[in-house]
Protein backbone atom coordinates (compact mmCIF):
# COMPACT_ATOMS: atom_id res chain seq x y z
CA UNK A 1 0.00 0.00 0.00
CA UNK A 2 1.42 3.40 -0.80
CA UNK A 3 1.95 6.18 1.66
CA UNK A 4 -1.21 7.92 2.82
CA UNK A 5 -0.38 11.40 1.70
CA UNK A 6 -3.56 12.86 3.07
CA UNK A 7 -2.73 11.95 6.63
CA UNK A 8 0.89 13.01 6.22
CA UNK A 9 0.02 16.34 4.71
CA UNK A 10 -2.13 17.35 7.66
CA UNK A 11 0.76 16.79 10.02
CA UNK A 12 3.19 18.62 7.75
CA UNK A 13 0.93 21.62 7.58
CA UNK A 14 0.83 21.83 11.38
CA UNK A 15 4.60 21.77 11.60
CA UNK A 16 5.03 24.49 9.01
CA UNK A 17 2.50 26.80 10.58
CA UNK A 18 4.23 26.48 13.92
CA UNK A 19 7.50 27.32 12.20
CA UNK A 20 6.09 30.53 10.87
CA UNK A 21 5.23 31.95 14.24
CA UNK A 22 8.61 31.27 15.66
CA UNK A 23 10.37 32.48 12.54
CA UNK A 24 10.19 36.20 13.21
CA UNK A 25 11.54 35.87 16.73
CA UNK A 26 14.34 33.77 15.38
CA UNK A 27 15.31 36.26 12.73
CA UNK A 28 15.62 39.01 15.27
CA UNK A 29 17.86 36.92 17.48
CA UNK A 30 19.98 35.88 14.51
CA UNK A 31 20.76 39.40 13.46
CA UNK A 32 21.50 40.39 17.02
CA UNK A 33 23.78 37.43 17.53
CA UNK A 34 25.58 38.22 14.32
CA UNK A 35 26.13 41.78 15.41
CA UNK A 36 27.62 40.60 18.69
CA UNK A 37 29.86 38.15 16.92
CA UNK A 38 31.18 40.85 14.71
CA UNK A 39 31.88 43.04 17.64
CA UNK A 40 33.76 40.54 19.75
CA UNK A 41 37.41 41.11 20.24
CA UNK A 42 39.82 38.26 20.03
CA UNK A 43 41.37 38.73 23.42
CA UNK A 44 38.09 39.01 25.28
CA UNK A 45 36.89 35.95 23.61
CA UNK A 46 39.88 33.83 24.29
CA UNK A 47 39.99 34.94 27.89
CA UNK A 48 36.43 33.97 28.64
CA UNK A 49 36.47 30.79 26.71
CA UNK A 50 39.70 29.38 27.94
CA UNK A 51 38.40 29.58 31.48
CA UNK A 52 35.35 27.61 30.66
CA UNK A 53 35.15 24.00 31.46
CA UNK A 54 32.68 21.34 31.98
CA UNK A 55 29.61 22.59 30.16
CA UNK A 56 26.76 20.47 28.89
CA UNK A 57 27.41 21.53 25.34
CA UNK A 58 30.18 21.38 22.84
CA UNK A 59 31.75 24.62 21.87
CA UNK A 60 34.59 25.42 19.45
CA UNK A 61 37.68 27.40 20.21
CA UNK A 62 38.16 30.34 17.93
CA UNK A 63 41.63 31.11 16.73
CA UNK A 64 40.72 34.79 16.53
CA UNK A 65 37.45 36.80 16.37
CA UNK A 66 34.16 35.16 15.87
CA UNK A 67 32.62 37.19 13.14
CA UNK A 68 35.37 38.03 10.70
CA UNK A 69 35.07 37.06 7.10
CA UNK A 70 37.99 36.49 4.79
CA UNK A 71 37.78 36.96 1.03
CA UNK A 72 39.32 34.36 -1.24
CA UNK A 73 42.68 34.69 -2.90
CA UNK A 74 43.58 34.07 -6.54
CA UNK A 75 43.66 30.55 -7.88
CA UNK A 76 47.08 29.29 -8.83
CA UNK A 77 47.81 28.64 -12.53
CA UNK A 78 48.23 24.94 -12.06
CA UNK A 79 46.44 22.94 -9.42
CA UNK A 80 44.76 19.64 -8.85
CA UNK A 81 41.86 18.43 -6.77
CA UNK A 82 41.41 14.80 -5.75
CA UNK A 83 38.39 13.36 -3.99
CA UNK A 84 37.24 10.04 -2.68
CA UNK A 85 33.75 8.93 -1.72
CA UNK A 86 32.38 5.60 -0.71
CA UNK A 87 29.25 3.57 -0.84
CA UNK A 88 28.53 0.20 0.70
CA UNK A 89 26.25 -2.76 0.73
CA UNK A 90 25.73 -3.73 4.32
CA UNK A 91 25.69 -7.34 5.46
CA UNK A 92 22.30 -8.59 4.39
CA UNK A 93 20.60 -11.35 6.39
CA UNK A 94 18.60 -12.22 3.33
CA UNK A 95 21.63 -13.06 1.23
CA UNK A 96 22.57 -16.71 0.84
CA UNK A 97 26.14 -15.91 1.89
CA UNK A 98 26.78 -13.10 4.41
CA UNK A 99 29.05 -10.54 2.87
CA UNK A 100 29.45 -6.82 2.53
CA UNK A 101 30.77 -4.58 -0.17
CA UNK A 102 32.50 -1.26 0.02
CA UNK A 103 32.82 0.66 -3.23
CA UNK A 104 35.23 3.57 -3.19
CA UNK A 105 34.82 6.10 -5.97
CA UNK A 106 37.69 8.41 -6.85
CA UNK A 107 38.03 11.55 -8.89
CA UNK A 108 41.21 13.29 -9.97
CA UNK A 109 40.85 16.66 -11.66
CA UNK A 110 43.86 18.57 -12.94
CA UNK A 111 43.58 22.18 -14.06
CA UNK A 112 45.91 24.54 -15.86
CA UNK A 113 47.94 24.02 -19.00
CA UNK A 114 47.28 20.27 -19.15
CA UNK A 115 43.75 19.75 -17.93
CA UNK A 116 43.04 16.16 -17.16
CA UNK A 117 40.53 13.99 -15.36
CA UNK A 118 40.52 10.48 -14.06
CA UNK A 119 37.47 8.78 -12.64
CA UNK A 120 37.46 5.35 -11.16
CA UNK A 121 36.02 3.03 -8.54
CA UNK A 122 37.31 0.07 -6.55
CA UNK A 123 34.96 -2.42 -5.05
CA UNK A 124 36.02 -4.62 -2.19
CA UNK A 125 34.03 -7.61 -1.04
CA UNK A 126 34.18 -8.79 2.59
CA UNK A 127 33.08 -12.13 3.87
CA UNK A 128 33.92 -14.73 6.50
CA UNK A 129 36.57 -13.32 8.79
CA UNK A 130 36.51 -10.05 6.94
CA UNK A 131 33.16 -9.40 8.53
CA UNK A 132 34.58 -9.23 12.04
CA UNK A 133 37.01 -7.20 14.05
CA UNK A 134 38.85 -9.57 16.28
CA UNK A 135 40.83 -8.43 19.29
CA UNK A 136 44.47 -9.07 18.91
CA UNK A 137 45.51 -12.08 20.85
CA UNK A 138 42.03 -13.59 21.14
CA UNK A 139 39.82 -15.54 18.83
CA UNK A 140 36.48 -14.85 20.39
CA UNK A 141 36.33 -11.18 21.27
CA UNK A 142 35.05 -9.73 18.17
CA UNK A 143 32.81 -7.03 16.77
CA UNK A 144 30.79 -7.47 13.62
CA UNK A 145 31.63 -5.03 10.89
CA UNK A 146 28.18 -3.99 9.95
CA UNK A 147 25.89 -1.02 10.33
CA UNK A 148 27.68 2.05 11.76
CA UNK A 149 30.91 0.09 12.17
CA UNK A 150 30.92 -0.62 8.48
CA UNK A 151 30.37 3.10 8.08
CA UNK A 152 33.55 3.85 10.01
CA UNK A 153 35.44 1.38 7.91
CA UNK A 154 34.22 3.07 4.82
CA UNK A 155 35.26 6.51 6.06
CA UNK A 156 38.75 5.21 6.78
CA UNK A 157 38.92 3.66 3.31
CA UNK A 158 37.90 6.96 1.80
CA UNK A 159 40.58 8.95 3.60
CA UNK A 160 43.19 6.31 2.89
CA UNK A 161 42.39 6.54 -0.75
CA UNK A 162 43.27 10.21 -0.69
CA UNK A 163 46.88 9.31 -0.02
CA UNK A 164 47.01 7.22 -3.20
CA UNK A 165 45.31 9.86 -5.23
CA UNK A 166 47.69 12.55 -4.15
CA UNK A 167 50.60 10.42 -5.33
CA UNK A 168 49.12 10.40 -8.85
CA UNK A 169 49.66 14.12 -9.17
CA UNK A 170 53.12 15.49 -10.03
CA UNK A 171 54.61 16.92 -6.83
CA UNK A 172 55.06 20.38 -8.28
CA UNK A 173 51.36 20.93 -8.56
CA UNK A 174 49.47 22.19 -5.52
CA UNK A 175 46.86 19.59 -4.67
CA UNK A 176 43.75 19.61 -2.52
CA UNK A 177 42.37 16.30 -1.28
CA UNK A 178 38.66 16.33 -0.45
CA UNK A 179 36.33 13.96 1.27
CA UNK A 180 32.68 14.27 2.20
CA UNK A 181 31.70 14.24 5.83
CA UNK A 182 33.96 14.78 8.82
CA UNK A 183 37.54 14.06 9.81
CA UNK A 184 36.27 13.52 13.32
CA UNK A 185 34.88 10.05 13.95
CA UNK A 186 32.09 11.41 16.10
CA UNK A 187 30.45 8.06 16.56
CA UNK A 188 33.41 6.71 18.44
CA UNK A 189 32.98 9.11 21.38
CA UNK A 190 31.32 7.80 24.44
CA UNK A 191 31.21 4.22 25.60
CA UNK A 192 29.26 2.77 22.73
CA UNK A 193 32.05 0.67 21.34
CA UNK A 194 34.76 -1.48 22.86
CA UNK A 195 38.32 -0.33 22.67
CA UNK A 196 38.84 -2.76 19.90
CA UNK A 197 36.86 -0.59 17.55
CA UNK A 198 38.66 2.55 18.52
CA UNK A 199 41.95 0.82 18.03
CA UNK A 200 41.01 -0.41 14.64
CA UNK A 201 39.73 2.83 13.28
CA UNK A 202 41.85 5.35 15.09
CA UNK A 203 45.17 3.82 16.00
CA UNK A 204 45.26 1.58 12.99
CA UNK A 205 42.97 3.68 10.94
CA UNK A 206 42.83 7.41 10.60
CA UNK A 207 45.78 8.41 12.72
CA UNK A 208 48.47 6.74 10.62
CA UNK A 209 46.86 8.30 7.57
CA UNK A 210 46.97 11.73 9.12
CA UNK A 211 50.61 11.14 10.06
CA UNK A 212 51.47 10.19 6.49
CA UNK A 213 49.71 13.10 5.05
CA UNK A 214 51.50 15.46 7.37
CA UNK A 215 54.74 13.90 6.23
CA UNK A 216 53.87 14.29 2.58
CA UNK A 217 52.96 17.89 3.22
CA UNK A 218 56.51 18.62 4.19
CA UNK A 219 57.69 17.98 0.64
CA UNK A 220 54.92 19.37 -1.47
CA UNK A 221 52.02 21.71 -1.34
CA UNK A 222 49.02 19.68 -0.34
CA UNK A 223 45.90 20.30 1.68
CA UNK A 224 43.38 17.85 3.05
CA UNK A 225 39.80 18.85 3.85
CA UNK A 226 36.47 17.33 4.71
CA UNK A 227 33.42 19.05 3.30
CA UNK A 228 30.08 19.10 5.10
CA UNK A 229 27.09 20.39 3.23
CA UNK A 230 24.15 21.82 5.21
CA UNK A 231 26.00 21.44 8.51
CA UNK A 232 23.83 21.15 11.62
CA UNK A 233 26.70 21.98 13.89
CA UNK A 234 26.28 24.47 16.74
CA UNK A 235 29.88 24.62 17.95
CA UNK A 236 30.31 28.29 17.16
CA UNK A 237 26.85 29.19 18.40
CA UNK A 238 27.78 27.57 21.67
CA UNK A 239 31.02 29.49 21.77
CA UNK A 240 28.97 32.66 21.52
CA UNK A 241 26.68 31.33 24.19
CA UNK A 242 29.58 30.72 26.47
CA UNK A 243 30.88 34.15 25.78
CA UNK A 244 27.56 35.67 26.77
CA UNK A 245 27.05 33.40 29.72
CA UNK A 246 26.87 34.86 33.22
CA UNK A 247 25.88 31.72 34.92
CA UNK A 248 28.29 29.45 36.60
CA UNK A 249 29.13 26.00 35.36
CA UNK A 250 27.14 24.07 37.94
CA UNK A 251 23.91 25.88 37.23
CA UNK A 252 24.50 25.57 33.62
CA UNK A 253 25.08 21.90 33.76
CA UNK A 254 21.88 21.43 35.63
CA UNK A 255 19.61 23.55 33.49
CA UNK A 256 21.06 23.88 30.04
CA UNK A 257 21.11 21.50 27.15
CA UNK A 258 23.15 21.36 24.01
CA UNK A 259 20.43 23.15 22.21
CA UNK A 260 19.28 25.83 24.57
CA UNK A 261 19.59 27.68 27.82
CA UNK A 262 16.85 29.09 30.03
CA UNK A 263 18.92 31.99 31.27
CA UNK A 264 19.55 35.34 29.85
CA UNK A 265 21.54 36.61 28.07
CA UNK A 266 22.81 33.29 26.89
CA UNK A 267 19.45 32.24 25.65
CA UNK A 268 19.95 34.57 22.76
CA UNK A 269 21.42 31.95 20.48
CA UNK A 270 18.90 29.24 21.46
CA UNK A 271 18.21 26.78 18.72
CA UNK A 272 20.30 28.72 16.29
CA UNK A 273 22.69 26.91 13.96
CA UNK A 274 26.20 27.91 12.99
CA UNK A 275 25.31 28.06 9.34
CA UNK A 276 22.48 30.51 9.94
CA UNK A 277 24.80 32.90 11.68
CA UNK A 278 27.46 32.68 9.06
CA UNK A 279 24.91 33.16 6.34
CA UNK A 280 24.59 36.70 7.69
CA UNK A 281 28.22 37.20 8.54
CA UNK A 282 29.86 35.92 5.41
CA UNK A 283 29.54 37.46 1.94
CA UNK A 284 29.47 35.01 -0.93
CA UNK A 285 32.94 33.64 -1.40
CA UNK A 286 34.13 34.48 2.09
CA UNK A 287 35.30 32.10 4.75
CA UNK A 288 35.11 32.46 8.49
CA UNK A 289 37.96 32.38 10.98
CA UNK A 290 39.40 29.04 11.94
CA UNK A 291 38.06 27.18 14.93
CA UNK A 292 39.23 23.97 16.50
CA UNK A 293 36.87 21.43 17.81
CA UNK A 294 36.61 20.40 21.43
CA UNK A 295 35.34 16.97 20.68
CA UNK A 296 36.42 14.44 23.26
CA UNK A 297 37.46 12.00 20.62
CA UNK A 298 39.92 14.44 19.21
CA UNK A 299 41.12 15.63 22.55
CA UNK A 300 41.65 12.20 23.96
CA UNK A 301 42.35 9.90 21.07
CA UNK A 302 43.71 11.81 18.13
CA UNK A 303 47.19 11.71 19.40
CA UNK A 304 47.99 15.33 18.93
CA UNK A 305 46.23 15.78 15.59
CA UNK A 306 44.02 18.73 16.15
CA UNK A 307 41.08 19.09 13.76
CA UNK A 308 40.20 22.63 12.83
CA UNK A 309 37.22 23.87 10.94
CA UNK A 310 35.87 26.96 9.23
CA UNK A 311 32.71 27.94 7.41
CA UNK A 312 32.56 29.06 3.84
CA UNK A 313 29.85 30.86 1.86
CA UNK A 314 30.05 29.26 -1.56
CA UNK A 315 27.30 31.39 -2.99
CA UNK A 316 24.62 28.73 -2.61
CA UNK A 317 25.00 27.65 1.02
CA UNK A 318 27.20 27.77 4.08
CA UNK A 319 29.42 24.71 4.23
CA UNK A 320 31.66 23.46 6.99
CA UNK A 321 35.24 22.63 6.08
CA UNK A 322 37.41 20.55 8.41
CA UNK A 323 41.19 20.55 8.06
CA UNK A 324 44.08 19.01 10.01
CA UNK A 325 46.19 21.34 12.15
CA UNK A 326 49.15 21.51 9.76
CA UNK A 327 46.80 23.01 7.21
CA UNK A 328 45.03 25.31 9.62
CA UNK A 329 48.22 26.84 10.94
CA UNK A 330 49.60 27.47 7.46
CA UNK A 331 48.19 30.69 6.01
CA UNK A 332 49.08 29.67 2.47
CA UNK A 333 47.44 26.31 2.76
CA UNK A 334 44.33 27.82 4.27
CA UNK A 335 44.04 30.30 1.41
CA UNK A 336 44.66 27.53 -1.09
CA UNK A 337 42.01 25.36 0.50
CA UNK A 338 39.55 28.26 0.56
CA UNK A 339 40.13 29.25 -3.08
CA UNK A 340 40.08 25.71 -4.41
CA UNK A 341 36.94 24.73 -2.56
CA UNK A 342 35.16 27.81 -3.86
CA UNK A 343 36.25 26.95 -7.38
CA UNK A 344 35.08 23.38 -6.94
CA UNK A 345 31.73 24.54 -5.64
CA UNK A 346 31.34 26.94 -8.50
CA UNK A 347 32.12 24.22 -11.02
CA UNK A 348 29.84 21.85 -9.23
CA UNK A 349 27.06 24.37 -8.90
CA UNK A 350 26.97 24.51 -5.18
CA UNK A 351 28.86 21.39 -4.21
CA UNK A 352 32.48 20.46 -4.98
CA UNK A 353 32.46 18.82 -8.39
CA UNK A 354 35.27 16.44 -7.50
CA UNK A 355 33.34 14.98 -4.59
CA UNK A 356 30.15 14.66 -6.57
CA UNK A 357 31.99 12.86 -9.38
CA UNK A 358 33.66 10.60 -6.84
CA UNK A 359 30.24 9.97 -5.41
CA UNK A 360 28.85 9.11 -8.83
CA UNK A 361 31.64 6.62 -9.19
CA UNK A 362 30.93 5.11 -5.79
CA UNK A 363 27.19 4.97 -5.78
CA UNK A 364 25.56 1.58 -5.86
CA UNK A 365 22.03 1.98 -7.13
CA UNK A 366 19.07 -0.33 -6.69
CA UNK A 367 19.59 -2.33 -9.86
CA UNK A 368 23.28 -2.69 -9.04
CA UNK A 369 22.34 -4.12 -5.69
CA UNK A 370 20.05 -6.61 -7.32
CA UNK A 371 22.73 -7.51 -9.81
CA UNK A 372 25.13 -8.06 -6.91
CA UNK A 373 22.73 -10.52 -5.32
CA UNK A 374 22.14 -12.28 -8.63
CA UNK A 375 25.84 -12.57 -9.28
CA UNK A 376 26.30 -14.09 -5.85
CA UNK A 377 23.60 -16.65 -6.54
CA UNK A 378 25.15 -17.50 -9.91
CA UNK A 379 28.59 -17.89 -8.36
CA UNK A 380 27.22 -20.28 -5.78
CA UNK A 381 25.29 -22.24 -8.34
CA UNK A 382 28.36 -22.62 -10.51
CA UNK A 383 30.22 -24.10 -7.59
CA UNK A 384 27.37 -26.45 -6.92
CA UNK A 385 26.50 -24.83 -3.62
CA UNK A 386 22.92 -24.28 -2.56
CA UNK A 387 21.50 -20.86 -2.87
CA UNK A 388 18.50 -19.73 -0.92
CA UNK A 389 16.99 -16.55 0.13
CA UNK A 390 14.53 -15.50 2.75
CA UNK A 391 10.87 -15.53 1.97
CA UNK A 392 10.81 -11.84 2.79
CA UNK A 393 13.16 -11.14 -0.07
CA UNK A 394 11.20 -13.31 -2.40
CA UNK A 395 8.04 -11.48 -1.57
CA UNK A 396 9.76 -8.11 -2.05
CA UNK A 397 11.05 -9.09 -5.45
CA UNK A 398 7.80 -9.99 -7.08
CA UNK A 399 4.90 -7.95 -5.85
CA UNK A 400 2.51 -10.57 -7.13
CA UNK A 401 -1.24 -10.40 -6.89
Amino acid sequence: MSLDFNKTLVQMTDVVSRMKTSQNDRNLRLSLAAKIMKATKENDLKEKLSLAKDRPFLWANPSSELGTGHSPTELPEEYAVVAADGSHIDVDRHLPVPCSLINIGTCILQYGTHPNAHLSNYPKLYSDEGLYLTEHGTTTREVAIEGPVLGFKRTIDEVRELEKLISEIPPTIPTLALVDGSLVLWGLSGQGYPNLVRQEFLDKGILPILDNLKQVAQNRTISVAAYVSLPRSTEVVNALRLYLCDTNAVECKRSCSNRMSPFKPCDLPNELLDRELFDILLKPGQRSELFFTNSSIVREHYNGHQIYFFYINNGQEIARIEVPDWVATNETLVSLTHALILDQCYKGRGYPVSISEAHQQAVINGSDRQTFKDMLSSALTRQGLPTYTSEKTRSKRLAWL
Binding site: Y111, N116, L119, Q360
Partner: protein
Amino acid sequence: MSERIGEIIEANTNSFIVQCYKLYESPPLGSIIQSGTPTIFGVISEITTEPLDPSRPIIAIGHDEPTEDEIYRSNPQLNNLLCTRLTSLTIGYSDGDNVYHGFPPHPPRIHSFVYLSGNHNIESLAKSFDFLHLLLTSGAGDEVISACLRQISQRVQDGYTFLVESGQALATELVGQFPRLNAILRRLS
Protein backbone atom coordinates in the same frame (compact mmCIF):
# COMPACT_ATOMS: atom_id res chain seq x y z
CA MET B 1 45.64 -0.76 -41.17
CA SER B 2 44.36 2.54 -39.97
CA GLU B 3 44.02 3.50 -36.34
CA ARG B 4 41.29 2.00 -34.20
CA ILE B 5 38.50 4.48 -33.72
CA GLY B 6 36.34 2.62 -31.24
CA GLU B 7 34.43 -0.53 -30.37
CA ILE B 8 31.04 -1.95 -31.24
CA ILE B 9 28.66 -1.60 -28.29
CA GLU B 10 25.50 -2.72 -30.03
CA ALA B 11 24.99 -4.76 -33.17
CA ASN B 12 22.30 -6.30 -35.27
CA THR B 13 22.14 -7.57 -38.83
CA ASN B 14 21.55 -4.23 -40.46
CA SER B 15 23.40 -1.77 -38.28
CA PHE B 16 25.82 -1.39 -35.41
CA ILE B 17 26.68 1.24 -32.84
CA VAL B 18 30.26 2.21 -32.10
CA GLN B 19 31.60 4.02 -29.09
CA CYS B 20 34.63 6.07 -30.04
CA TYR B 21 37.68 5.90 -27.84
CA LYS B 22 38.17 9.63 -27.88
CA LEU B 23 35.49 12.22 -27.35
CA TYR B 24 34.68 14.08 -30.58
CA GLU B 25 37.16 12.06 -32.55
CA SER B 26 35.13 10.22 -35.11
CA PRO B 27 35.28 10.03 -38.90
CA PRO B 28 32.80 12.32 -40.61
CA LEU B 29 29.23 11.44 -41.54
CA GLY B 30 29.04 9.12 -44.50
CA SER B 31 32.45 7.55 -43.95
CA ILE B 32 32.87 3.86 -44.51
CA ILE B 33 34.07 1.93 -41.48
CA GLN B 34 34.75 -1.72 -40.94
CA SER B 35 34.82 -4.09 -38.02
CA GLY B 36 34.87 -7.68 -36.97
CA THR B 37 35.98 -10.98 -38.39
CA PRO B 38 34.67 -11.63 -40.97
CA THR B 39 34.89 -7.97 -41.80
CA ILE B 40 31.66 -6.05 -42.02
CA PHE B 41 31.41 -2.66 -43.71
CA GLY B 42 29.12 0.13 -42.68
CA VAL B 43 28.32 3.74 -43.49
CA ILE B 44 28.26 6.21 -40.61
CA SER B 45 24.70 7.46 -40.58
CA GLU B 46 24.59 9.24 -37.26
CA ILE B 47 27.08 10.69 -34.83
CA THR B 48 25.91 11.47 -31.30
CA THR B 49 27.68 12.92 -28.33
CA GLU B 50 25.94 12.03 -25.09
CA PRO B 51 26.62 11.24 -21.44
CA LEU B 52 28.04 7.81 -20.73
CA ASP B 53 25.48 7.49 -17.99
CA PRO B 54 22.07 8.19 -19.48
CA SER B 55 20.69 9.22 -16.12
CA ARG B 56 22.98 12.25 -15.94
CA PRO B 57 21.68 15.18 -17.91
CA ILE B 58 23.94 17.77 -19.50
CA ILE B 59 23.36 21.40 -18.51
CA ALA B 60 24.89 24.62 -19.73
CA ILE B 61 27.81 25.52 -17.44
CA GLY B 62 29.80 28.01 -19.44
CA HIS B 63 27.97 31.22 -18.68
CA ASP B 64 31.07 32.87 -17.25
CA GLU B 65 33.65 31.20 -19.44
CA PRO B 66 35.08 33.37 -22.21
CA THR B 67 35.35 30.57 -24.78
CA GLU B 68 33.97 27.10 -25.34
CA ASP B 69 37.42 25.59 -24.97
CA GLU B 70 37.62 27.13 -21.52
CA ILE B 71 34.60 25.13 -20.46
CA TYR B 72 36.46 21.92 -21.23
CA ARG B 73 39.61 23.17 -19.57
CA SER B 74 37.72 24.13 -16.44
CA ASN B 75 35.83 20.86 -16.34
CA PRO B 76 38.22 18.15 -17.44
CA GLN B 77 35.86 15.47 -16.12
CA LEU B 78 33.63 16.18 -19.13
CA ASN B 79 35.97 14.12 -21.32
CA ASN B 80 35.35 11.15 -19.05
CA LEU B 81 31.65 11.58 -18.66
CA LEU B 82 30.71 12.29 -22.28
CA CYS B 83 31.24 9.96 -25.18
CA THR B 84 30.85 10.05 -28.93
CA ARG B 85 28.84 7.26 -30.46
CA LEU B 86 28.33 6.40 -34.10
CA THR B 87 25.47 4.58 -35.69
CA SER B 88 26.55 2.72 -38.79
CA LEU B 89 24.33 1.13 -41.44
CA THR B 90 25.71 -2.12 -42.76
CA ILE B 91 26.33 -2.15 -46.49
CA GLY B 92 28.55 -5.13 -47.07
CA TYR B 93 30.99 -7.71 -45.81
CA SER B 94 34.07 -9.56 -46.88
CA ASP B 95 35.06 -13.20 -46.64
CA GLY B 96 38.72 -12.38 -46.89
CA ASP B 97 38.95 -12.57 -50.65
CA ASN B 98 35.91 -10.85 -52.02
CA VAL B 99 33.76 -7.95 -51.01
CA TYR B 100 29.99 -8.42 -51.15
CA HIS B 101 27.16 -5.96 -50.94
CA GLY B 102 24.28 -6.60 -48.61
CA PHE B 103 23.69 -7.77 -45.05
CA PRO B 104 26.11 -10.34 -43.68
CA PRO B 105 24.89 -13.71 -42.49
CA HIS B 106 25.74 -12.73 -38.88
CA PRO B 107 26.19 -9.41 -37.18
CA PRO B 108 29.59 -8.48 -35.74
CA ARG B 109 30.46 -9.24 -32.11
CA ILE B 110 30.17 -6.73 -29.34
CA HIS B 111 33.53 -5.10 -28.58
CA SER B 112 34.81 -5.71 -32.12
CA PHE B 113 37.44 -3.10 -32.94
CA VAL B 114 36.30 -0.55 -35.48
CA TYR B 115 38.54 0.97 -38.15
CA LEU B 116 38.19 3.46 -40.94
CA SER B 117 38.16 1.51 -44.22
CA GLY B 118 41.15 1.89 -46.49
CA ASN B 119 41.11 2.94 -50.12
CA HIS B 120 41.48 -0.60 -51.37
CA ASN B 121 38.30 -1.81 -49.69
CA ILE B 122 36.44 1.32 -50.66
CA GLU B 123 37.37 0.81 -54.30
CA SER B 124 36.03 -2.74 -54.08
CA LEU B 125 32.79 -1.58 -52.51
CA ALA B 126 32.40 1.19 -55.03
CA LYS B 127 32.65 -1.15 -58.01
CA SER B 128 28.91 -1.58 -58.06
CA PHE B 129 26.07 0.54 -56.81
CA ASP B 130 24.09 -2.19 -55.06
CA PHE B 131 24.81 -0.56 -51.76
CA LEU B 132 22.90 2.53 -52.86
CA HIS B 133 19.72 0.54 -52.90
CA LEU B 134 20.38 -0.62 -49.35
CA LEU B 135 21.00 2.92 -48.17
CA LEU B 136 17.94 4.31 -49.90
CA THR B 137 15.67 1.73 -48.36
CA SER B 138 17.27 1.79 -44.93
CA GLY B 139 15.67 5.06 -43.93
CA ALA B 140 19.12 6.61 -43.68
CA GLY B 141 18.22 10.00 -44.96
CA ASP B 142 19.44 11.56 -48.16
CA GLU B 143 22.10 13.58 -46.36
CA VAL B 144 23.82 10.36 -45.34
CA ILE B 145 23.72 9.09 -48.88
CA SER B 146 25.23 12.21 -50.35
CA ALA B 147 27.85 12.38 -47.59
CA CYS B 148 28.76 8.76 -48.25
CA LEU B 149 29.11 9.27 -51.97
CA ARG B 150 31.22 12.37 -51.47
CA GLN B 151 33.46 10.49 -49.08
CA ILE B 152 33.93 7.65 -51.53
CA SER B 153 34.65 10.00 -54.41
CA GLN B 154 37.56 11.41 -52.45
CA ARG B 155 39.06 7.99 -51.97
CA VAL B 156 38.70 6.37 -55.42
CA GLN B 157 40.87 6.95 -58.44
CA ASP B 158 38.53 8.94 -60.65
CA GLY B 159 36.29 10.75 -58.21
CA TYR B 160 34.38 12.81 -60.75
CA THR B 161 33.47 9.82 -62.88
CA PHE B 162 32.36 7.99 -59.77
CA LEU B 163 30.07 10.86 -58.84
CA VAL B 164 28.57 10.96 -62.32
CA GLU B 165 27.99 7.22 -62.31
CA SER B 166 26.47 7.32 -58.85
CA GLY B 167 24.21 10.13 -60.03
CA GLN B 168 23.05 7.92 -62.88
CA ALA B 169 22.46 5.02 -60.52
CA LEU B 170 20.44 7.33 -58.26
CA ALA B 171 18.41 8.51 -61.23
CA THR B 172 17.44 4.92 -61.88
CA GLU B 173 16.58 4.25 -58.25
CA LEU B 174 14.63 7.46 -57.79
CA VAL B 175 12.41 7.29 -60.82
CA GLY B 176 9.44 9.55 -60.28
CA GLN B 177 11.12 11.43 -57.45
CA PHE B 178 12.90 14.13 -59.32
CA PRO B 179 12.92 16.76 -56.55
CA ARG B 180 14.57 14.27 -54.23
CA LEU B 181 17.11 13.29 -56.86
CA ASN B 182 17.84 16.91 -57.59
CA ALA B 183 18.45 17.66 -53.93
CA ILE B 184 20.94 14.83 -53.60
CA LEU B 185 22.69 15.73 -56.83
CA ARG B 186 23.09 19.30 -55.63
CA ARG B 187 24.95 18.01 -52.62
CA LEU B 188 27.22 16.00 -54.85
CA SER B 189 28.09 18.70 -57.31
